[in-house]
């Protein structure tokens, strides 16, 4: 079995960007020569230069992650950009291979692929056990054999996307693998933070401090954010109760704190994560049949959690004036995030969703064209 694509990438200085790369307005450059991978499996194995290459590409595509407005055939309009980019993956097929459902991520990838001119097929494979039936690899190979150029993979097992990348020839874009990574989410979060702080020119986040609050240990979003944000120069502090934010996370290059009130006034962005009740084992007392479990073995009670780690309106007022609130969704309103904050002026949640399209367009086109 080849493991070339599964180990950590060597960090080689020459993979860094040349500083000050200027893209002339209106000229869509070819896919950056600094991106060579057919796959996007995680941010933890990428260099800062590779991450910036995707983000730069996303910045160019940003006009396409919104409605284009009234039709306009002039050059240098979003419509002209849409026509050019709409040819980039023309004739190609992108398959959304989702072993877990996720409406927002799948929708975002679908819009991104269509904007690039690709055909999109959706495959849901919701199987409780693959061990004796068709394996993950079998499924992916069968889908690939129908002639797809890229698999967008969401699975509940860490390493699933990397495993498939080892066994198929087409591109694999990780749309979330268990507790490991969700790299396009990490990229769009970095993009959103860069935008909020005027760092879109170079995607250099040096001097910024970002808190990730909540269920870090079970969160692939947190892992991608820690990897991405620290590589771009930001400082990351993970905040949560010991069971959800254990000290052992510090090996990832972040700080760990159990005191949100101490951290909050010092940060430039705060990412609130929901507690993934479904990933923390059986609660001590089973919920009523049919009731959504709102207990987690990792916390004593929702009330206690909210008291210490929820972002209430009152807490949000103690943030720096320039600080923003982000959330990968879905939000457990009233637990980690109050309504007023979620919909308030600091919230850039909808900017995140919007940038997701541009980031995914960048990732898909760069991976598919790297394999062509």
């Amino acid at each position: 079995m080849s493991t070339t694509s599964r180990g950590p990438a060597p960090t080689v200085a020459s993979r860094e960007d040349a500083p000050g790369l200027v893209v002339p307005a209106g000229v869509v450059p070819p896919p950056t020569d600094r991106w060579t991978s057919r796959h996007l499996l995680g941010l933890g194995t990428l260099s800062p230069g590779e991450i910036r290459a995707v983000l730069r590409r996303a910045r160019e595509l940003a006009p396409l992650s919104a409605s284009l407005g009234p039709r306009d055939d002039n050059p240098d309009t979003p419509w002209a950009l849409a026509r050019r980019e709409g040819q980039r993956l023309a004739g190609r097929v992108v398959a959304n291979l989702f072993f877990e459902d996720s409406t927002r991520t799948r929708t975002s990838f679908t819009v991104a692929a269509r904007r690039l001119g690709a055909e999109v097929v959706d495959l849901f494979v919701i199987a409780s056990s693959v061990s004796k039936g068709e394996t993950l690899i079998d499924t992916a190979k069968n889908v690939e054999a129908t002639g797809v150029d890229a698999l967008v993979v969401r699975a509940r097992q860490a390493g699933a996307a990397a495993l498939l990348a080892d066994h198929v020839r087409c591109s694999v874009v990780n749309a979330g693998d268990g507790g490991h990574e969700h790299p396009t989410q990490g990229l769009l979060d970095a993009y959103t933070i860069a935008e909020a702080h005027g760092r879109l020119d170079a995607f250099d986040l040096a001097g910024l401090r970002v808190a990730i609050v909540g269920d870090i240990v079970a969160s692939r979003v947190a892992r991608s954010n820690i990897a991405g944000l620290t590589r771009l120069g930001a400082e990351v502090v993970c905040v949560g109760p010991p069971a959800l934010a254990p000290r052992s996370l510090e090996v990832l290059g972040c700080r760990v704190s159990h005191d949100l009130d101490e951290v909050l006034p010092t940060v430039d962005a705060v990412m609130m994560l929901r507690i993934q009740f479904e990933r923390h084992g059986t609660p001590a007392v089973a919920p009523l049949p049919g009731a959504a479990p709102k207990r987690s073995a990792a916390i004593a009670s929702v009330r206690e959690y909210r008291t210490f780690y929820g972002l209430s309106e009152e807490r949000a007022e103690r943030m720096k004036p320039s600080a923003v609130v982000i959330h990968p969704g879905p939000i457990n309103r009233g637990i980690e995030l109050d309504h007023a904050v979620a919909d308030g002026p600091r919230s850039v949640v909808l900017r995140q969703v919007r940038h997701g399209v541009a980031v995914r367009m960048a990732a898909l086109s760069m991976c598919v064209l790297a394999s062509a």
Binding site: T3, R6, S131, T135, Q157, A158, G159, A160, G179, V251
Partner: protein
């Protein structure tokens, strides 16, 4: 069966303390003579094996293998597992009871004995389950199974988690003279954890199996056993702390033994990087401090047993995502040079001590010394392994002679290999020519 003359090897028999260049004569399935080099007359009917430059040792014994029969014959059988054993130099293996059905009845031990007689290439002795069905709820018939040929008791693969049940198991096993062998893992601390809790698991986004989950069980069991005095054996020790717990208990005079596996003596959790399922094993590969502690434990006599925990799985199973792939790796073919690398080349112990760890020590653990196994005593069983300690080779799939290919050691350059394995006077493996009359 022909008589066999093994000439000119360095004969190491730790049970008697012998270590000298000598000839060994085997006749009628028994050790007929051990005599100074070239002093034994060669009778015309003898098969002769030239063992110059080699070690001639009692047949090697592995107290911890999974042969998967009955129930999981797609992974391994007694026939294929014992083939891997003799290719690796082992003449005796003790098979674990996590079969289907589990070996929890005296009748099933009889089945193993029959299948071994019909199909096995080396001696097979069953370790019986501690609890019925290995479910950890009800004690199995330990006394009856002891009478039916069990050589120890274990729920291996699962821990006996209930404190009350373990107390009863130790009490019931005590009069049988056999050891309770514990797979030490507090499962409340290891839910969903496919690997060691450390840097690599954090990076891969996998739940971690911490050292303390092993240590608390061993500490508890030793405490329970203090007033009982049963023989208690810790299987596949993986943690630095467990070594220290066993060291203290032995210093205290308690009948406690510990076992180390080749992979835990050589590899760390880094081997799991890239979601390498070949390195997914239970207990998990840990860190260098654990590797060092295990080697020190072997060196100072804390760890007195070596077991491969040979655990074959099908290729398909190991192609599952890391969290879903089964635990375990195959060990019989590759164990000998790996033990030598970890323990002899590192300077922890010398070859005679390694031979003891692979012969008389496991024989004593499982009561096989009473059958004359584990030594080269005159009149004892003609189980002999001839080892070329300098033979260099590289582990390839073709070297794996059981059904499983699941090992993280593929491609590793190693030194030392069994060149002949003789079981009850029958040459089962000969990588060197045997001169027939």
């Amino acid at each position: 069966m022909p008589n066999i003359l093994i000439r000119g090897g360095r004969v190491i028999d730790p049970a008697s303390g012998a270590d000298r260049v000598a000839d060994v004569a085997l006749a009628d399935g028994k050790v007929a003579a051990v005599a100074p080099f070239a002093s034994l007359p060669r009778s015309p009917a003898d098969h002769v094996i030239d063992a110059e430059g080699c070690l001639v040792t009692p047949g090697l014994i592995d107290p911890h293998v999974h042969l998967r029969e009955p129930g999981f014959e797609d992974k391994e059988t007694l026939a294929t597992g014992t083939r891997a054993a003799v290719f690796g130099g082992f003449t005796t293996v003790c098979c674990m009871p996590n079969t289907s059905p589990a070996l929890d009845l005296p009748e099933l031990l009889g089945f193993i004995r029959e299948r071994a007689r019909e199909t096995a290439l080396c001696r097979v002795f069953p370790v019986a389950a501690i609890t019925k069905g290995r479910h950890g709820e009800e004690l199995a018939e330990l006394a009856l199974m002891a009478r039916a040929g069990a050589v120890g008791f274990s729920d291996d693969g699962d821990c006996v988690g209930s404190t009350a049940l373990m107390a009863r198991a130790l009490a019931d096993a005590r009069p049988t003279g056999l050891a309770i062998m514990q797979h030490a893992q507090d499962v409340t601390l290891t839910r969903g954890a496919p690997m060691h809790a450390g840097v690599v698991s954090a990076r891969l986004g996998l739940a971690g199996w911490p050292r303390v989950a092993e240590e608390v069980i061993v500490e508890r069991d030793i405490r329970l056993n203090r007033s009982i005095g049963c023989r208690y054996h810790v299987q596949h020790v993986s943690s630095e702390g467990t070594v220290e717990i066993i060291r203290r208990a032995r210093a205290d005079g308690q009948p406690i033994t510990g076992e180390a596996s080749p992979h835990h003596l050589l590899l760390t959790d880094e081997a799991c990087d890239g979601y390498n399922t070949a390195a997914k094993v239970n207990p998990p590969l840990r860190e260098w401090r654990d590797v060092r502690a295990l080697r020190e434990g072997v060196a100072d006599g804390t760890i007195t047993l070596l077991g491969t925990d040979h655990a074959p799985h099908t290729a398909d199973e190991k192609l599952l995502p890391f969290e879903e792939a089964p635990f375990g790796l195959v060990g019989l073919d590759t164990a000998l040079p790996l033990y030598a690398e970890a323990l002899v080349d590192s300077g922890a112990i010398d070859w005679p001590r390694l031979v003891a760890l692979l012969t008389i020590e496991p024989a004593r653990l499982c009561g096989l010394d009473a059958l004359g196994l584990g030594s080269l005593a005159l009149g004892g069983p003609a189980d002999v392994t001839i080892i070329d300690p300098g033979l260099s080779w590289t582990v390839a799939e073709a070297d794996l002679s059981g059904k499983g290919r699941n090992t993280p050691f593929l491609g590793r350059a190693v030194r030392g290999r069994a060149v002949a394995t003789i079981v009850a006077g029958v040459v089962r493996l000969a990588r060197r020519p045997v001169a027939a009359p």
